[in-house]
């Protein structure tokens, strides 16, 4: 397989893709770095020259920074907890032999195929609308006052939407992990006198451990950059401004490209720390 000729042929053939991807990544990255050190106000004079670390300091010391970090953490952690816990339960359920298994599995996976913008619109208009939404009708059917979701419970609403989107991913990964568990191990545990819950705790859960870490890390990277769900629903109002959304607002609303770029660089560093862990774990997974 790996003669010298085939290796250099492989290199040549892969080169266009690698160069394209590298360019796609490097050009915006360098531009972000460049802008982050400039005082760049498009509507107020344009590029006003070199700014040193001013943008970085301003981004960190701004009064919206820590609340944004807090909101981001709340969203990421809540969504992770909800998707992992429900994902494990759903995976255990879907692993049971039942009638219509194939269709049920497709239904469970379906939300993952819906674009974030579309799913946010669906939730906003179909479920959470205080007048015509399904939730409103449900509340009214029981005689309760409908909740104005995106105003009174904005953060939980967004967590709900994002969780709904990521639950299929977690379920899918955990289901395949569950299915890779050797059935003889479960039988051995059964013969060893472990009842159902203990078999889950001592055998199934440790077996799912690695899959759970992979789910957590991959989801963390993607949920950190949650944007469409917030843009479509609350536009960052009612304490739903995450770090990503703050960067967006600095650039479009405040028209301060330098400041937004500095925030972008912070986000890059944060995502890379997570990615580093992810690659280590996924790499280890592939070795085993």
């Amino acid at each position: 397989m790996s003669t010298n000729a085939s290796r250099s042929a492989a290199r040549v053939m892969m080169a266009p893709a690698v160069i394209l991807l590298l360019g796609w990544m490097l050009v915006p990255l360098t531009m972000t770095f460049w802008f982050s050190f400039r005082k760049f106000l498009p509507m107020r004079g344009g590029d006003l020259g070199f700014a040193g670390f001013d943008n970085y300091v301003r981004f960190l010391t701004s009064s919206s920074f820590w609340p944004a970090v807090q909101t981001t953490l709340i969203i990421v952690i809540s969504v992770l907890v909800i998707t992992v816990v429900l994902g494990i339960l759903l995976a255990m359920l879907l692993d049971q032999p039942m009638w219509g298994q194939g269709i049920v599995r497709i239904l469970v996976i379906a939300p993952f195929f819906v674009m974030p913008t579309v799913s946010a619109l669906l939730w906003k208009n179909m479920f959470m609308d205080p007048v015509n939404g399904l939730f409103a009708h449900l509340f009214k059917a029981f005689g309760a006052e409908p909740v104005i979701w995106l105003t009174d419970a904005a953060l939980p609403s967004i967590i709900m939407i994002v969780s709904w989107q990521w639950l299929p991913f977690a379920t899918l990964i955990l289901l395949t992990a569950r299915q890779s568990l050797d059935s003889e191990q479960m039988e051995a545990a059964e013969m060893d006198g472990a009842p159902l819950l203990k078999r889950f705790w001592f055998i199934v859960l440790p077996h799912l451990g690695r899959a759970i870490t992979v789910v957590i890390l991959i989801q963390t990277i993607f949920i950190l950059s949650t944007f469409a769900e917030i843009f479509v629903t609350t536009s960052g109002a009612f304490d739903t401004r995450t770090l990503t959304y703050l960067i967006f607002q600095r650039i479009t609303d405040s028209q301060n490209i330098g400041l937004g770029s500095a925030g972008g660089v912070y986000a890059i560093i944060l995502a890379n720390i997570v990615a580093l862990f992810l690659m280590r774990i996924v790499g280890k997974n592939l070795d085993a």
């Binding site: 003889e184 051995a188 059964e190 060893d192």
Partner: protein, 334 residues
């Protein structure tokens, strides 16, 4: 203690009968081997005894108690699986201790039992390792250790040696035999390898398509096979089963003669033939001889080195005391 009685036990999967109603008694302390070709239902039978499968009909009595509807853990049997089924995320110590922890034994008691089992199985140096770092034979021993700490009424082995290489298999065979002698506990062992069955068993149960073909001690099966199937299955290399006019002359449909009960000579004999392939094992030589009287080649054993070669004409003489005769329906006549 560990007497297992199967009474009219049968099993169907989706209406397909895998095991027709079957009676069998496994005496206390006996080493019983279920042997048969793959798909003969021997593993299913073991799993029925273990309780991992529900019987379709019939009853299973363990230690004089009707255990047919009992959960596997309540039957007080221990099983060693083909894949060992060790818990990969637990150390050897925790693997062996697992059934004891589930039985809610005290910490000191668990420790002393684990140490005792580790001592018996030479695992003391590996107690803190994960199963993934052990060799096949060591994993096998951990699986056995996990079984013996429970002090079960009987051990069930499901093809435990089939994942080991040949040398290790012989070694583990002796170790399991040794263990049985020391513990004197009932053992039920499933294998498709008749050599394992012959070397380890007190009693062999030969199965074919879920039916018991014959039950008996290894030598009984060897010297008095009840039918053609058992005759051909037990013994290595297998018995020559011959049909044709020569068989009819002796009043049988099929005659069976083991390779070691034929003598070969280049001078004189009853059946003449031509030597085909010969296998030289050092202690023995096996010749495959194409005889004029029979369509199939006949395997003959000669002790030591014999200077006969491919294509040479030879004569075979059966030892009539060891000739097996089978009737039209495959049953033994004499």
């Amino acid at each position: 203690m560990g007497r297992i009685v199967l009474d009219q036990v049968n099993k169907s999967f989706d209406g397909v009968e895998v095991i027709p109603p079957l009676d069998l008694t496994i005496e206390d302390g006996e080493f019983t081997v279920f042997v048969g070709p793959s798909g003969c239902g021997k593993s299913t039978l073991l799993r029925l005894i273990a309780g991992l499968e529900d019987v379709t009909g019939g009853q299973i009595h363990i230690d004089g108690k009707d255990s047919t509807q009992l959960a596997p853990a309540k039957r007080k049997l221990a099983m060693v699986f083909q894949s060992y089924a060790l818990y990969p995320h637990m150390s050897v110590r925790n693997n062996i201790a697992f059934p004891l922890k589930m039985a809610k034994l005290g910490r000191d008691k668990i420790n002393s039992k684990v140490m005792a089992a580790a001592e018996v199985l030479n695992l003391t140096d590996y107690l803190e390792r994960r199963p993934g770092l052990l060799s096949g034979g060591q994993r096998q021993r951990v699986a056995i250790g996990r079984a013996i700490v429970r002090e079960p009424k009987a051990f069930l082995f499901d093809e435990p040696l089939s994942n080991l290489d040949a040398a290790l298999r012989v070694e583990m065979r002796l170790e399991i035999g040794e263990l049985h002698k020391r513990l004197a506990t009932t053992m039920v062992y499933v294998t498709h390898d008749q050599v394992e069955a012959m070397t380890m068993a007190d009693r062999i149960v030969v199965l074919k398509a879920g039916n018991i073909e014959q039950v008996g001690s290894p030598l009984e099966l060897y010297s008095k096979p009840k039918n053609v199937f058992v005759a051909g299955f037990i013994g290595s290399p297998s018995m020559n089963l011959l049909e044709g006019p020569e068989a009819v002359k002796l009043g049988a449909k099929t005659i069976g003669i083991r390779p070691e009960h034929l003598s070969i000579s280049d001078q004189e004999g009853v059946w003449s033939g031509i030597i085909g392939v010969s296998e030289h094992l050092g202690s023995d030589t096996f010749f495959h001889v194409k005889c004029d009287a029979f369509p199939e080649p006949i395997t003959v054993r000669a002790s030591g080195e014999v200077s006969l070669h491919y294509g040479e004409k030879v004569f075979l003489t059966p030892n009539h005391a060891h000739l097996h005769l089978f009737s039209d329906d495959g049953l033994r006549i004499a």
